[in-house]
């Protein structure tokens, strides 16, 4: 099919099998390896992308589902002012270890903070419970999300 969608703010049009998994489309066809694959079955969240601002699992999405939609991957996040704040918070708070869950965590965090700008730790735990991390024990990720929430409100505590 002829697929046309917005990827990180840029219009993309390409010929692709409609049933190609979005994670393969991104990684193999569009050379965007920032979106990770870890389980291939929707259990881990490593392949999270934002589709029209909502976090989605790209290993469970097919290319045709992107028609006319707007996709944000980790490669596009740095250009987004809010995302850059979240990224910086992850760096400063030690929320990154091996880094394989990190792109998905950051995009899930963006989705979370758009819906719940002032979350408490329990809400963050709940909202990120679909994103597995094997290195951190989550504590510093939650620290980073809480700090990002504060920064996004203009640094008021």
């Amino acid at each position: 099919m002829n697929l046309s969608f917005t990827l990180n703010g840029q219009q993309v049009a390409l010929e692709v099998a409609p049933d190609r998994r979005v994670v393969d489309l991104l990684r193999e066809d569009l050379n965007m390896g920032g979106t990770k694959e870890c389980c291939g079955s929707g259990e881990c969240g490593a392949c999270t992308i934002l589709v029209d601002g909502q976090s989605q699992l790209s290993c469970l999405m097919l290319a045709a589902q992107l028609q006319g939609r707007s996709v944000l991957t980790i490669e596009g996040a740095a250009a987004d002012a809010d995302a850059a704040i979240v990224q910086q918070a992850f760096v400063e708070h030690g929320a990154v270890q091996c880094g394989f869950c990190t792109p998905g965590m950051i995009l899930a965090t963006l989705d979370l903070l758009q819906r719940i700008p002032q979350p408490n730790r329990e809400q963050v735990r709940h909202e990120l419970s679909g994103n597995l991390c094997r290195c951190t024990g989550y504590q510093k990720i939650i620290d980073a999300v809480m700090a990002a929430a504060v920064s996004l409100k203009g640094g008021q505590r």
Binding site: G34, K36, A46, C98, H126, L128, G130, T136
Partner: protein, 781 residues
């Protein structure tokens, strides 16, 4: 606000201060490249055909139908391997591709190469394998039975991979004299590493005959040697690159996909090949934590002084040795915990079965024996009416004591201070009121467990690091990382060490990740050794480079002042050097340009001292790493609530008081402890790895349950920052100990909460509910 630099990124990150990791910025933007992320142009996909039986003789492999499928480039079998076709680190018993027989469901029968993943899958299904099914061995207890099948008939010891015994004093006699004694059987199950990046790599045979491989490995240099023999290439022709690893935890300690990648690249007509396990294949073929069946008898006198330990350990190493003998040796060494026990008999074995292969996993045998020892000592406390913390404190080793294995402890020993720190902590001080305040339909429990984790390789293999660093012509510093960074952050710590010594800020540093063509062989990322060994080498390299920089700068200043300048009057400061008496300053880039390229490169070697004490027993364990010279120590506390209606456990508090020597970077230290604790919590409560008749029943992440953000509470970490003179800036090792005592701490807390000990496997809700039922507390308010 979107400025991606810290305002203080230009500052020196002194040792002892938190420094954000150098790799973090690339990891948050998706720029960091893992082996799994590589898709070279014109690549071929490699895939592995697995057997349908856990133990069978290979009679014939018919590849014709598979080869006829369009897009299929090669179907390789053991006949295509020119080398020994045997992998293994000490015990070379594992074929790349099965030849005579298959020994578990995760074995490899054929290696396929195809243009697409679709063609690969079709070809995999089309390979016809003829087997003669053999009786299989699944129960390690039966491994020595006369009628049990033998997995490796060429081995004189049959199914016994390794046995060993530790003897001190007369434990049988001491137990008859003991005022209190307990006997406990404890079993632990497999644990899956579940690193997020499954085993992955790409490889290509270059035109000059060099096999270049980028692979997710903890052991790039050792892989090269191991591969060379197995595939029949000179090690000099094998080039291994280990970029960022998406986790390892021991599961990438040794060959995973490297044998397949090498073989595939040798049959791809020069095209690059890629192999990346699915999660299911990762679980099927990857190594696990060894399951243990243990029986402990522990006795003390009237006052609580431990008198005797008698223990039996049986490890299931599965179809192949992997690092089973080394895991076994470390388990034997640490089986008695961090206590003074004058009379000890520990008998153990690790045996082959047709179960999944067990190997290295964070803790390396210690979490298993800690599960047994630390539940036994809690039971002893209960039997004798002792406070469980007091009993441990009273028996805790100090420097100069002998360990339970009879080895004199010559390094720093902080277990006493760890226990004292825990005793002073509010969670312990207020435990009675917290326990009493359980909500309705809940029972509360608090448990502790103490542990020692040996550091480094031990006496058999030189624990050696070869550091390399370079002052670039622009004044920046390049740190060559000789030991894989699987996510633990050792690479950043090396940069921090270099910056600390040379007075340069972190943003003046760049890292070169392990690469057999660029970095120097420095051993595995394992054994809590990476910073101890490579850090010590790094200190020497940085000091050497610093001397050279200062000498060149001093020469320049002396020309300006027209008198000689002493080296110690030259200060290395961020981006410059200053001659302190005259105040004259020289930009570091200027000094760098006046140095020759060979002068700007510094290398240094460090080999960790070994423990050469004569051994009264356990002599056969020496070549597998026993005994060590140093250990980290720790005590962990779990406070939890069980639901009397459902048996569900909610862990409320987890406290770790750990002596891993001096803390070099508090943030990275906490990362290691928190990550280890979370894995320990999964091991204790969630990760019920199940194998039936050799077949894994928890073969994906919907059935093998990892802890989520909802399952791991905020953890408390209190370092006991001792100074180990042999360590870099006084540190020992923090990579493993965080996981070690979590399971027994949780088990001890559950025993308090329910009044009944659950001694087997994962401590799931079903078992907790059964325990509550047994003590008449099920559904009690």
């Amino acid at each position: 606000m979107s400025n991606n630099k810290r305002p203080d990124a230009g500052f020196v990150r002194e040792i002892g201060c938190s420094a954000p990791r150098l790799d973090a910025a690339d990891k948050v933007t998706g720029a960091a490249v893992f082996a799994a992320d590589l898709y070279p142009a014109d690549l071929l996909w490699a895939g592995v055909k697995r057997p349908e039986h856990p133990h069978a003789r290979l009679l014939a492999i018919d590849t014709a139908a598979a080869l006829a499928i369009p897009g299929v480039v090669a179907v390789l079998t053991h006949k295509d391997i020119k080398g020994s076709n045997r992998l293994g680190i000490f015990e070379k018993d594992q074929p790349i591709l099965a030849d005579e027989r298959v020994r578990h469901y995760g074995d490899a029968v054929a290696l396929l190469l195809a243009e697409s993943k679709e063609a690969l899958a079709a070809a995999m299904a089309a390979v016809r394998v003829e087997y003669e099914v053999l009786p299989a061995l699944f129960d390690p207890v039966l491994s020595q039975a006369a009628d049990s099948p033998v997995l490796h008939p060429q081995r004189s010891a049959g199914n016994l991979l390794i046995g060993g015994e530790i003897r001190r004093g007369d434990p049988a006699e001491a137990l008859t004299q003991a005022a209190y004694q307990v006997t406990l059987t404890v079993s632990t199950t497999w644990q899956e590493h579940a690193f997020l990046e499954t085993q992955a790599g790409v490889a290509q045979l270059e035109t000059d005959g060099t096999l270049t491989m980028t692979v997710s490995t903890q052991t790039p240099f050792r892989d090269r040697l191991e591969l060379a023999e197995a595939i029949g290439l000179s090690p000099a022709k094998i080039h291994v690159i280990a970029p960022c690893l998406g986790g390892g935890f021991g599961g990438k300690d040794g060959i995973t996909v490297q044998g397949f990648l090498a073989l595939a690249a040798m049959h791809s007509g020069g095209r690059p090949v890629k192999l990346w396990y699915s999660r299911e294949e990762s679980i099927l073929a990857g190594t696990k934590r060894h399951p243990l069946q243990a029986e402990y008898t522990l006795g003390c006198d009237q006052t609580g002084q431990l008198q005797a330990l008698s223990a039996r350990l049986l490890f299931d190493t599965g179809a192949y040795a992997s690092l089973g003998s080394e895991v076994f040796a470390l388990a034997m060494e640490n089986a008695g915990g961090p206590y003074r026990i004058p009379n000890v008999a520990i008998d153990g074995a690790a045996v082959y079965t047709n179960n999944p292969v067990a190997g290295a996993f964070r803790g390396f045998g210690v979490p298993q024996v800690a599960a047994a020892m630390e539940q036994a000592i809690d039971e002893l406390a209960r039997a004798g009416g002792f406070d469980p913390l007091e009993l441990r404190r009273q028996n805790a080793v100090v420097r100069g004591d002998s360990s339970p294995t009879g080895v004199t402890l010559t390094g720093t020993v902080g277990i006493g201070e760890c226990l004292d720190t825990l005793a002073r902590h509010p969670l312990w001080q207020r435990r009675q009121s917290w326990l009493a305040a359980a909500p309705r339909f809940k029972r509360r429990g608090i448990g502790i467990a103490a542990v020692a984790q040996s550091i480094g390789y031990g006496p058999a293999i030189a624990d050696c690091g070869n550091a390399k660093m370079e002052l670039l012509a622009d004044g920046r510093l390049r740190v060559y990382v000789g030991v894989s960074d699987m996510g633990q952050g050792n690479a950043s710590t090396y940069a921090q060490i270099a910056g600390h010594i040379l007075g340069q800020p972190m943003d003046a540093m760049e890292l070169v990740f392990p690469d057999t063509a660029r970095t120097l062989p420095s051993g595995s990322a394992s054994a809590s050794r990476t910073t101890f060994t490579y850090g010590n080498a790094m200190i020497r390299a940085a000091e050497l480079l610093g001397e050279r920089i200062k000498a060149r700068a001093a020469l320049m200043v002396s020309f300006q002042l027209l008198h000689s300048v002493k080296l110690e009057d030259m200060a290395l400061l961020p981006g410059r050097l200053q001659h302190v008496p005259s105040g004259r300053s020289l930009p570091l880039p200027l000094v760098a340009t006046l140095m020759d390229a060979t002068e700007r490169m510094a290398t240094a070697t460090y080999t960790a001292p070994v423990n050469d004490q004569p051994l009264d027993s356990g002599v056969n364990l020496r070549k597998h790493g026993f005994p060590h010279r140093l250990a980290s120590y720790g005590v962990q506390l779990a406070a939890l609530e069980v639901d009397t209606l459902t048996g569900e456990t909610e862990v409320c508090e987890l406290l770790s008081c750990i002596d891993a020597g001096r803390v070099l970077n508090p943030q990275l230290y906490e990362q290691q402890v928190q990550g280890g604790v979370a894995q320990g919590l999964g091991y204790a409560l969630f990760e019920e790895f199940t194998v039936e008749q050799g077949r894994i029943k928890t073969g994906d992440l919907s059935t093998y349950i990892l802890p989520t953000a909802l399952d791991v509470p905020d953890m408390l970490t209190v370092p006991v920052s001792s100074h180990e003179p042999a360590g870099p800036f006084g540190m020992k090792g923090i990579g493993e100990i965080g996981i070690d005592a979590v399971l027994p701490a949780v088990a001890n807390a559950l025993a308090t909460a329910t009044g009944q000990r659950i001694a087997g496997g994962t401590l799931n809700a079903e078992k907790v509910l059964a325990a509550l039922r047994h003590t008449g507390q099920e559904a009690m308010r």
